[in-house]
């Protein structure tokens, strides 16, 4: 089955689920979401295992899972973590995945029914006063790993820190104006304006709740910082080697079987930089998972299918993409004709094959698995998505001629070292050469790339780009006149985009929000501030003895690593 057909089905279900989530937020004056999980279908070992198109099953019809207790689940990350403070420097999956199981948020994504949001440390919440006040009713009887009780002051402190630009890298996402406790277990959050994305943002793994005053007294790199309320508590950290967490015996959450969560004895995150080594260690059983939503190529998956019938391959969309960022402040990309020529000349299907062995989806600016994305039928109305590559190339040459580059041009192109960046860059280089744009490809390490990109010292580049929350507020912040240069790196500005962005961000009407976001995407597809080659897929493998594994979807890499409901057959993960 083609991914596009899967996505169509998925979009429909997404719309239903998003609508349900927002209606829940707006309408629920006294919401009590389920704490226990729904039973997820097992991840399917094929490209069709994108998020499920069926509505979430009712809790009453779901058979009660009885998870075996015990076992230590192990998986790999490719770089070492940098901080235990996910609010601040947790900007990479390598920070989030090992640290998220140590903490809770006020709310969290239901990992088995994404994108619905369920209660976490907040038992329920109410929206009031023109959609600008949310009252969270907090859970009682919760303790931190050091035994101290959780109360409103901890949540208030955490949210105040979360929206402080000096102490949080997420601050710019939130429209939170004020946070205060109206009781020991009642938290009132006032927004500067209605913000539809507030719950998804709070459900992000990075919106962790820490103890009151904790960041003042503890270095965020120090293991002493890692005191949360989460299902696992930190056991040890060997920098560059491993991070180990063990079961929190006093965790407050119960499983569907009524037993104490989590099921696992522990989680071991191993730092293994080389992908070949990761796959080798998975095959020999040293790793239970290749990674959380990561570390599996298509050829590896085929090898598993042929040789290891007990291995499960899980695939899904990922909120990350290949990008060709153009500096619109400088020639030649200050000329929209040149940018359109780039988009016309880029053969995206070819790039998906070369860079991702077919594991990718062509789309516009919004991730195609999101309901906010333009449907394929509308996307193909734009010339850069036309089927006739030769015709597109001829059009691109004509545009370059009109822009005064008839004799061709050479452009410096910075590319991050490693895959899939380099393969995608070579594919793009080959395409653009055919219309007379010679990309002078410079492969650089991450440090040099960030330095050149954030100081706007570039003409064009390709670097990691992702959204840690599946919401347009984060996705389109890259293109706002009002965004800081570190975010809007290319320097694109269209006031109409900013206006529509503000409207969609404040709209709690899901249909209208979808419509506004599609208008934004149309503007971007016409202006082409950057060219997105394709959207990545999340791919991972795990052994069949791992049960109740989470969905693989857009933010699995960033938000689904808490593992509290996952268990291993007979309590053995290895």
């Amino acid at each position: 089955m083609q991914p596009v057909h899967v996505l169509k089905g998925f979009l429909a279900s997404w719309l239903v689920l998003v609508t349900a989530s927002v209606v829940l937020l707006v309408g629920c004056r006294a919401t009590t979401p389920s704490v226990t999980p729904t039973t997820p279908p097992a991840a399917q070992p094929s490209a069709t295992a994108t998020p499920q198109a069926t509505p979430p099953p009712s809790p009453t019809t779901v058979p009660t899972p009885v998870g075996a207790r015990g076992g230590t689940l192990s998986y790999a990350i490719q770089e070492d973590m940098r901080s235990f403070d996910l609010q601040d420097l947790g900007t990479s999956y390598a920070d989030i995945q090992p640290v998220a199981p140590l903490f809770n948020g006020l709310v969290s994504y239901n990992m088995y029914d994404y994108p619905s949001i369920e209660s976490d440390l907040a038992e329920r919440w109410e929206l009031g006063q023109g959609d600008t006040t949310i009252t969270f009713f907090l859970r009682r009887g919760v303790t931190f790993h050091d035994g101290s009780p959780f109360a409103c002051r901890d949540a208030a402190y955490s949210l105040q820190k979360l929206v402080d630009p000096k102490r949080s890298s997420m601050a710019g996402n939130f429209a939170i104006q004020d946070v205060r406790c109206t009781g020991d277990y009642t938290l009132e959050v006032r927004l500067a304006r209605p913000q539809a994305a507030i719950l998804p943002l709070l459900a992000s793994s990075r919106s962790i709740i820490v103890k009151e005053g904790w960041a003042q007294g503890h270095d965020q790199k120090d293991v002493a910082f890692a005191v949360g309320t989460g299902p696992f508590r930190l056991k040890s950290r060997l920098p560059g080697v491993a991070i180990e967490a063990e079961r929190n015996p006093t965790y407050w959450k119960k499983g569907r079987d009524g037993g104490q969560l989590p099921y696992l004895d522990g989680v071991r995150t191993l730092v293994v930089p080389d992908p070949t080594t990761i796959f080798a260690n998975f095959r020999t059983g040293q790793l239970t998972l290749t990674g959380i939503g990561r570390n599996l190529t298509k050829s590896d998956a085929e090898a598993l299918k042929a040789q290891y019938p007990d291995a499960v391959v899980a695939l899904g969309p990922r909120s990350a993409w290949d990008n060709f960022v153009m500096n619109v402040r400088k020639p030649p990309f200050d000329n929209p004709k040149v940018r359109l020529a780039v988009a016309l000349a880029t053969d995206r299907q070819k790039m998906v094959q070369i860079a991702a062995e077919g594991w990718g989806t062509v789309g516009g600016y919004m991730m195609p698995h999101m309901p906010f994305a333009l449907p394929q039928t509308e996307l193909t109305q734009f010339p850069q998505f036309g089927a006739d590559m030769e015709g597109r190339r001829a059009q691109a040459r004509a545009l370059l001629e009109g822009a005064g580059y008839g004799g061709g041009l050479t452009v410096e192109y910075l590319v991050r070292k490693g895959e899939p960046y380099q393969s995608a860059a070579v594919s793009r280089q080959d395409d653009l050469k055919k219309v007379g744009i010679n990309l002078d490809l410079r492969v650089l390490d991450a440090g040099t790339m960030y330095n050149r990109a954030f100081s706007q010292d570039f003409i064009s580049y390709t670097l990691a780009a992702a959204a840690t929350v599946d919401d347009p507020d984060q996705v389109y912040a890259f293109f706002l006149c009002s965004s800081p240069p570190r975010q809007n790196v290319g320097g694109y500005c269209n006031p109409k985009v900013d206006e529509l962005y503000g409207q969609q961000s404040a709209s709690f009407d899901p249909q209208r929000r979808v419509q506004l976001n599609r208008e934004i995407e149309k503007l971007l597809l016409a202006d082409i501030p950057e060219d997105r080659g394709y959207f990545w897929w999340s791919a991972m493998a795990y052994w069949g003895r791992v049960q109740n594994w989470v969905q693989v979807t857009g933010v699995t890499v960033y938000s689904f690593s808490r593992l509290e409901q996952v268990w291993c057959r007979e309590g053995r993960c290895q």
Binding site: G240, A280, T284, P484
Partner: protein, 318 residues
């Protein structure tokens, strides 16, 4: 001899100073710093410029370069390398922890290389221009030509394919759990040792060939000594001088090989620490590791020079 030793020790200081000054400058010349990378990652654009500046300040990178250099030098000679800018852990502590693994790997690899190189080199010389000689030469040329990281990857894949086994991913100094340590380090040591043995085997062969043609060897044969006695007691000992010199040089190759092989086999030693630290622009860690490596090479070179006297009493130090 004593004056020679003192002079060599004194000369070590400017060499060490030169090496660490060079690495200090190179690291600062490279674009990007640890603050840029700390604020990097998938959500890089969300970190404000102010926060990046704050990280730079916390790491002391906003101080004048000369001040940074002075502080680094003063700390380095006290063996206090500060904290890792990336992990926040004491660099000295990290080095202490990882050196045990690397030292065990280096010793194992060195033993493997000697165990391969000396017997094969001697055998090739004794069986010159026979199939044994050709086989040894092919084996040695293979060791020189094949990059150790590539060989490491092949070996790793072969282990998975044929034995369904990979070395354990863990950190265990040999004295804590020797069996676990051997399982972890055995295969990487074989890979590094093979690479290291190639040049030594070729050198042993050619030196042996030279010595075997000497008069004193002919005399030894004439006295009716056994082949074993002639080869080991007379020929090999006299052929070892250039080999020992080469072994001193090979320590550098050993360090280079360990850096790459540790990365492939996920051995948490100093080599991998160096690669990671360069990637993360962790200045304190990189400078400390280069300091330690330089010191190690200088000491090995000195020991090699001193070993000449033992092997050849005619050598005089001036």
């Amino acid at each position: 001899m004593f004056r020679y030793l003192v002079r060599r020790l004194v000369l070590m200081v400017p060499t060490l100073l030169g090496a660490i000054t060079l690495i200090f400058v190179i690291l600062r010349v490279l674009p990007g710093d640890v603050a840029t990378l700390m604020a990097g990652g998938d959500a890089a654009g969300q970190v404000s410029e102010e926060r990046v500046a704050a990280i730079r300040h916390e790491a002391g990178l906003d101080r004048p370069l000369l001040v940074q250099y002075r502080d680094w030098l003063s700390a380095a000679f006290r063996m206090d390398f500060g904290k890792s800018l990336w992990s926040g852990y004491s660099v000295r502590h990290e080095l202490g922890r990882r050196y045990q693994v690397t030292a065990a790997l280096a010793v194992l690899a060195f033993l493997v290389s000697l165990a391969i190189a000396i017997p094969t080199g001697v055998l090739a010389a004794l069986k010159q221009d026979t199939w044994v000689d050709y086989a040894v030469r092919a084996f040695a040329i293979g060791g020189i030509s094949v990059p150790s990281f590539w060989l490491a990857l092949l070996v790793l894949l072969a282990l998975v394919h044929y034995l369904g086994w990979t070395p354990p991913i863990s950190l265990s100094p040999p004295w804590r759990d020797p069996w676990l340590s051997l399982r972890q380090l055995g295969v990487p040591a074989l890979v590094v040792g093979y690479h290291l043995s190639a040049l030594v085997a070729r050198m042993t062969r050619s030196c042996m060939l030279e010595v075997l043609r000497e008069d004193f060897v002919r005399t030894a044969w004439a006295k009716g000594l056994s082949g074993w006695a002639v080869a080991t007691r007379h020929a090999l000992r006299n052929a070892m001088l250039p080999v020992v010199t080469l072994l001193g040089v090979e320590v550098l190759v050993l360090l280079g090989g360990i850096v790459l092989v540790e990365t492939v086999f996920t051995v948490p030693g100093i080599g991998r620490y160096l690669v990671d630290s360069i990637t993360y622009r962790d200045y304190n860690a990189v400078q400390a590791i280069i300091w330690v490596f330089t010191l190690f090479v200088l000491v090995v070179n000195l020991v090699t020079d001193l070993a000449y006297r033992y092997l050849d009493p005619r050598v005089r130090y001036s």
